[in-house]
């Protein structure tokens, strides 16, 4: 039975006010309407039918803490919520004053995961770290990480510290995506070969919906350490503009006397960005190379069979 009949989920959970909606909006380039700054909790799940890593659907839930109505609703819907989960991303607000309660709700979510989707991967994000003083951030994060790892047994959780005001959010989600791609090491090796063959300066592989960098190859040191996030922001803004015209972004070429950059669809889950610093190589050549590589990489994804490939997982 193909799982395309039942979409796998990415659960984004956490206490109300921990920053999930902002995070979702920033990572997936969704517009936040003004009335989203609400005075109460999310009453129902916020679906977001984004094709994240294939056919995953993003579900956003407020977890715990508001009132008995929410508690009851949550409990009665539990199985529904936690079935078919591929990834659980749990967001903690580092400034929260109710640590005990937060951990308690986290544990109950884990129990539900263990019952309904025991193979799910669990990630914990300790969010809003910009509100902690810089010299204390590592300490506080280490403390939280230890607690979370201890509480999560027998499940294994990976912890990140994040803030929307520095690069940690982008890096954390990139790491999450990196861990979810089944054959990523193989992809990287192939990517390096591809780059060397076409004599590119740098080749990047992006996830399709979020432009998070999955893997990259560079042949020499680059100046700007934040270039991945900048490119991601620029392209997401461009996608927002395109959506105003009901158009969708497919590919882009940027060229001047010093370089040529190509962004194009690659596989069903990814985009590729190729940067050539030799402007004498004609665009057509690079584009043909990319097209041929595309076929090769798509085969890579399919070759690993239904056991690994994300969009054909059988349950």
């Amino acid at each position: 039975m193909s799982s395309s009949a039942m979409k796998k989920k990415v659960l984004l959970m956490g206490k109300s006010g921990s920053g999930k909606t902002s995070m979702r909006s920033i990572i997936f380039a969704n517009y936040i309407a003004r009335d989203t700054r609400r005075l109460g909790a999310t009453i129902d799940v916020e679906h977001s039918h984004v094709r994240f890593l294939g056919n995953l659907v993003l579900n956003l839930w407020d977890c715990g803490g508001q009132d008995t109505f929410m508690e009851n609703y949550f409990t009665s819907q539990r199985d529904n919520i936690f079935r078919n989960v591929e990834v659980l991303i749990y967001v903690f607000d580092v400034e929260s004053r109710e640590l005990e309660k937060d951990m308690h709700y986290y544990q109950s979510c884990l129990e539900a995961i263990l019952q309904n989707s025991p193979d799910a991967k669990v990630f914990c994000l300790v969010h809003k770290m910009d509100l902690v003083q810089e010299d204390q951030r590592d300490l506080i994060f280490k403390e939280r990480e230890e607690d979370l790892k201890r509480l999560s047994r027998p499940l294994a959780c990976t912890c990140f510290r994040t803030s929307i005001w520095d690069e940690t959010l982008y890096k954390a989600w990139s790491s999450i995506v990196y861990q979810l791609i089944p054959n990523v090491q193989q992809l990287e090796t192939n990517l390096r070969n591809f780059a060397q063959i076409i004599e590119a300066d740098e080749v990047l592989l992006f996830e399709r919906a979020t432009f998070l960098v999955i893997s990259h190859y560079q042949c020499k040191e680059q100046r700007d350490a934040h270039r991945f996030e900048k490119i991601s922001n620029i392209i997401k803004q461009f996608k927002l503009s395109c959506s105003k015209l009901a158009a969708s972004f497919q590919s882009m070429e940027v060229r001047n006397s010093n370089f040529a950059a190509f962004i194009d669809v690659f596989t069903s889950n990814t985009y590729v960005m190729v940067i050539m610093s030799d402007p004498s190589i004609p665009s057509a050549a690079t584009l043909i190379n990319i097209r041929n590589a595309r076929k090769h990489f798509e085969k890579l994804e399919r070759v690993d069979g239904p056991k690994h490939s994300l969009h054909m997982r059988m349950r």
Binding site: S25, I32, R34, I164, H226, E229, Q237, L245
Partner: protein, 548 residues
């Protein structure tokens, strides 16, 4: 980004897609966004970085996040602690030069004289018109004593207000105002009570403004009309003559609802009546102004207040020099033309003075921009001295110059300009100046009320046109009702002064001061007794207003 691939001048495509709903309009966002170019020189290998990497990536983030919400939504706005310091910020010109932002800290520091003037300017309000009446109510000698005493008392309370944020340890209080200090000590109750009483003073001021504006507009119309009738010029008039000189002044305004002089009952008087029709005419002018979203336009006219006060002082001097002094000292008993030197109605003066010397809700902000902070106390004292001196000058001169043999001192009106006939040219100019000044300050006050109420109730300064309209109708309605049925500004001023003074001048500052002293372990018996006595004075001030 889209600006790069679209001509800058072109028809605006209707942004009807879901990505732009709820904002103030896509055109609005576009006109507000600056033209931006990534400052790195992408053509040549320029080794010199003009902008630090952190600032560049933060700029990219801010740019992107601003696309995700409406232009007025602050959900994804960078908080202060993530914005780079001034040294790392550059203003980049597309032509290649980059300027550093000058250190903004220096720009706002004012020398002492400017601070003193700003405090004087802010405190000088319409209560100056009621000071002669207040002195008359308390008796000449007692009035002067009370003016000095109340001024000193309120100066002390102001001093403990500006000291209060500094006494708080462990928290950064540099952006706090007095309500924040109250919230620190007394929680939500402290915050709400300081806000509510601050609102009382604002709404009281707005009601007084409406009454005064009706008055000035009426007199302006009368002046122009009387120019056609060639009335004889009397220097002073007693608009509501009474048979008993000692009678309570607040009763007089209930008699005589139309103009005192022209009793012809002509159609002009029918349509141009101080209490029946003019308050309603003002609604047409002022209600739309109140509904403006932003009040910054009206803030440009604050200099008018200064000019009006200076003109009033000049006017008072000239009138006094024309008429000379008419003072007789009858110490305790009443007489036909004069009032006793010591009267039992003195709480009315204290009520008026509480509002006249009131600045406690914004003194911290005003003092913050003083260049030499160690001179704050000295500058505050000088400002109070100047304000007290101005009030004393106007009050004493008007009281002394009031021509007592033909008229009784008891005739001095709560608005002393009412004692001049409509046909007096100098006073006409004063009324026009004050009318214009009030028309420009009224929307500012309305904006302050709106911001405080809407901010606390809805968390948003402009939750919707209906909310704003309802609030404005309530405020305007209060003003109109007062103008029509009880236009005695003396009473309105003393009641609102006593109410907001109780909380913001006496009760909360004294409590905050005692609490902070106790925390530091420096609360002595004398200090506790003295500050509790201040609170008792505030309560007594309010209670006494009801018995007058």
């Amino acid at each position: 980004m889209e600006d790069d691939c679209r001509p800058l001048l072109g028809p605006d495509p209707t942004g009807e897609s879901p990505s732009h709903r709820g904002s103030a309009g896509s055109l609005d966002i576009r006109t507000k966004r600056p033209f931006y170019v990534e400052p790195r020189n992408i053509v040549s290998d320029d080794p010199q970085e003009r902008i630090s990497a952190e600032a560049a990536i933060l700029n990219s983030r801010v740019h992107y996040y601003s696309r995700l919400t409406g232009s007025s939504d602050t959900m994804l706005s960078p908080p202060n602690h993530v914005i780079p310091t001034a040294e790392e910020m550059y203003v980049y010109s597309p032509l290649g030069t980059a300027f550093k932002i000058p250190d903004s800290e220096q720009a706002v520091k004012n020398p002492s004289i400017v601070t003193i003037f700003a405090i004087w300017n802010t405190m000088m309000g319409t209560s100056i018109l009621s000071i002669p009446w207040g002195i008359k109510q308390a008796g000449f000698t007692l009035g002067i004593i009370i003016l000095i005493f109340t001024g000193l008392l309120m100066l002390y309370c102001c001093y403990i207000v500006i000291k209060s944020p500094k006494a708080i340890r462990g928290v950064d209080t540099s952006s706090w105002e007095f309500p924040d200090v109250c919230r620190f000590y007394f929680g939500k109750l402290g915050l709400w009570s300081s806000l509510v009483f601050s609102l009382v003073s604002l709404v009281g001021a707005m009601v007084v403004y409406w009454v005064l504006m009706s008055n000035f507009l009426y007199n302006t119309g009368q002046f122009i009309y009387s120019k056609f009738k060639h009335d004889r010029n009397v220097p002073f008039i007693c608009p509501y003559p009474k048979t008993h000189p000692g009678r309570n002044d607040s009763m007089t305004s209930l008699c005589g609802s139309s103009s005192g002089n022209d009793s012809s009952g002509s159609s002009f008087d029918h349509y141009w009546s101080k209490t029946s029709t003019i308050p309603l005419y003002l609604i047409i002018l002022l209600l739309p102004l109140l509904c403006f979203r932003s009040a910054s336009f009206f803030a440009r006219f604050t200099f008018f207040g200064t000019i009006s006060v200076i003109y009033l002082i000049v006017l008072v001097t000239i009138k006094a020099s024309h008429l000379g002094f008419h003072l007789e000292f009858h110490w305790f008993g009443p007489s036909q033309f004069y009032v006793p030197e010591f009267r039992l109605f003195f709480p009315q003066l204290t009520g008026v003075l509480t509002l006249a010397f009131f600045i406690h809700n914004c003194i911290i902000t005003l003092m913050k921009s003083n260049k030499n902070q160690e001179n704050n106390v000295r500058d505050l004292s000088l400002a109070y001295l100047l304000v007290g001196g101005t009030y004393m000058y106007v009050g004493v001169l008007i009281f002394a110059a009031f021509p007592s043999p033909p008229l009784s001192k008891d005739c001095i009106e709560p608005n002393f300009l009412d004692n001049f006939p409509s046909s007096d040219v100098m006073v006409f100019v004063a009324r026009v100046c004050l009318l214009f000044q009030m028309i420009t300050v009224y929307p500012l006050l309305g904006y302050l009320v709106r911001v405080q109420i809407m901010g606390q109730l809805f968390g948003n300064h402009y939750p919707g046109f209906i909310h704003i309209l309802v609030l404005n109708i309530l405020i305007v309605g209060a003003g109109v009702l007062m103008s029509m049925f009880y236009p005695n500004i003396g009473s309105i001023i003393r009641f609102s002064g006593a109410i907001c003074g109780l909380a913001l001048v006496f009760l909360l500052p004294a409590l905050v001061h005692m609490f902070s002293l106790r925390e530091q372990g420096r609360l002595t018996w004398q200090s506790a007794f003295f500050h509790s006595f201040l609170i008792v004075l505030g309560v007594a001030n309010l209670m006494a207003q009801f018995f007058m």
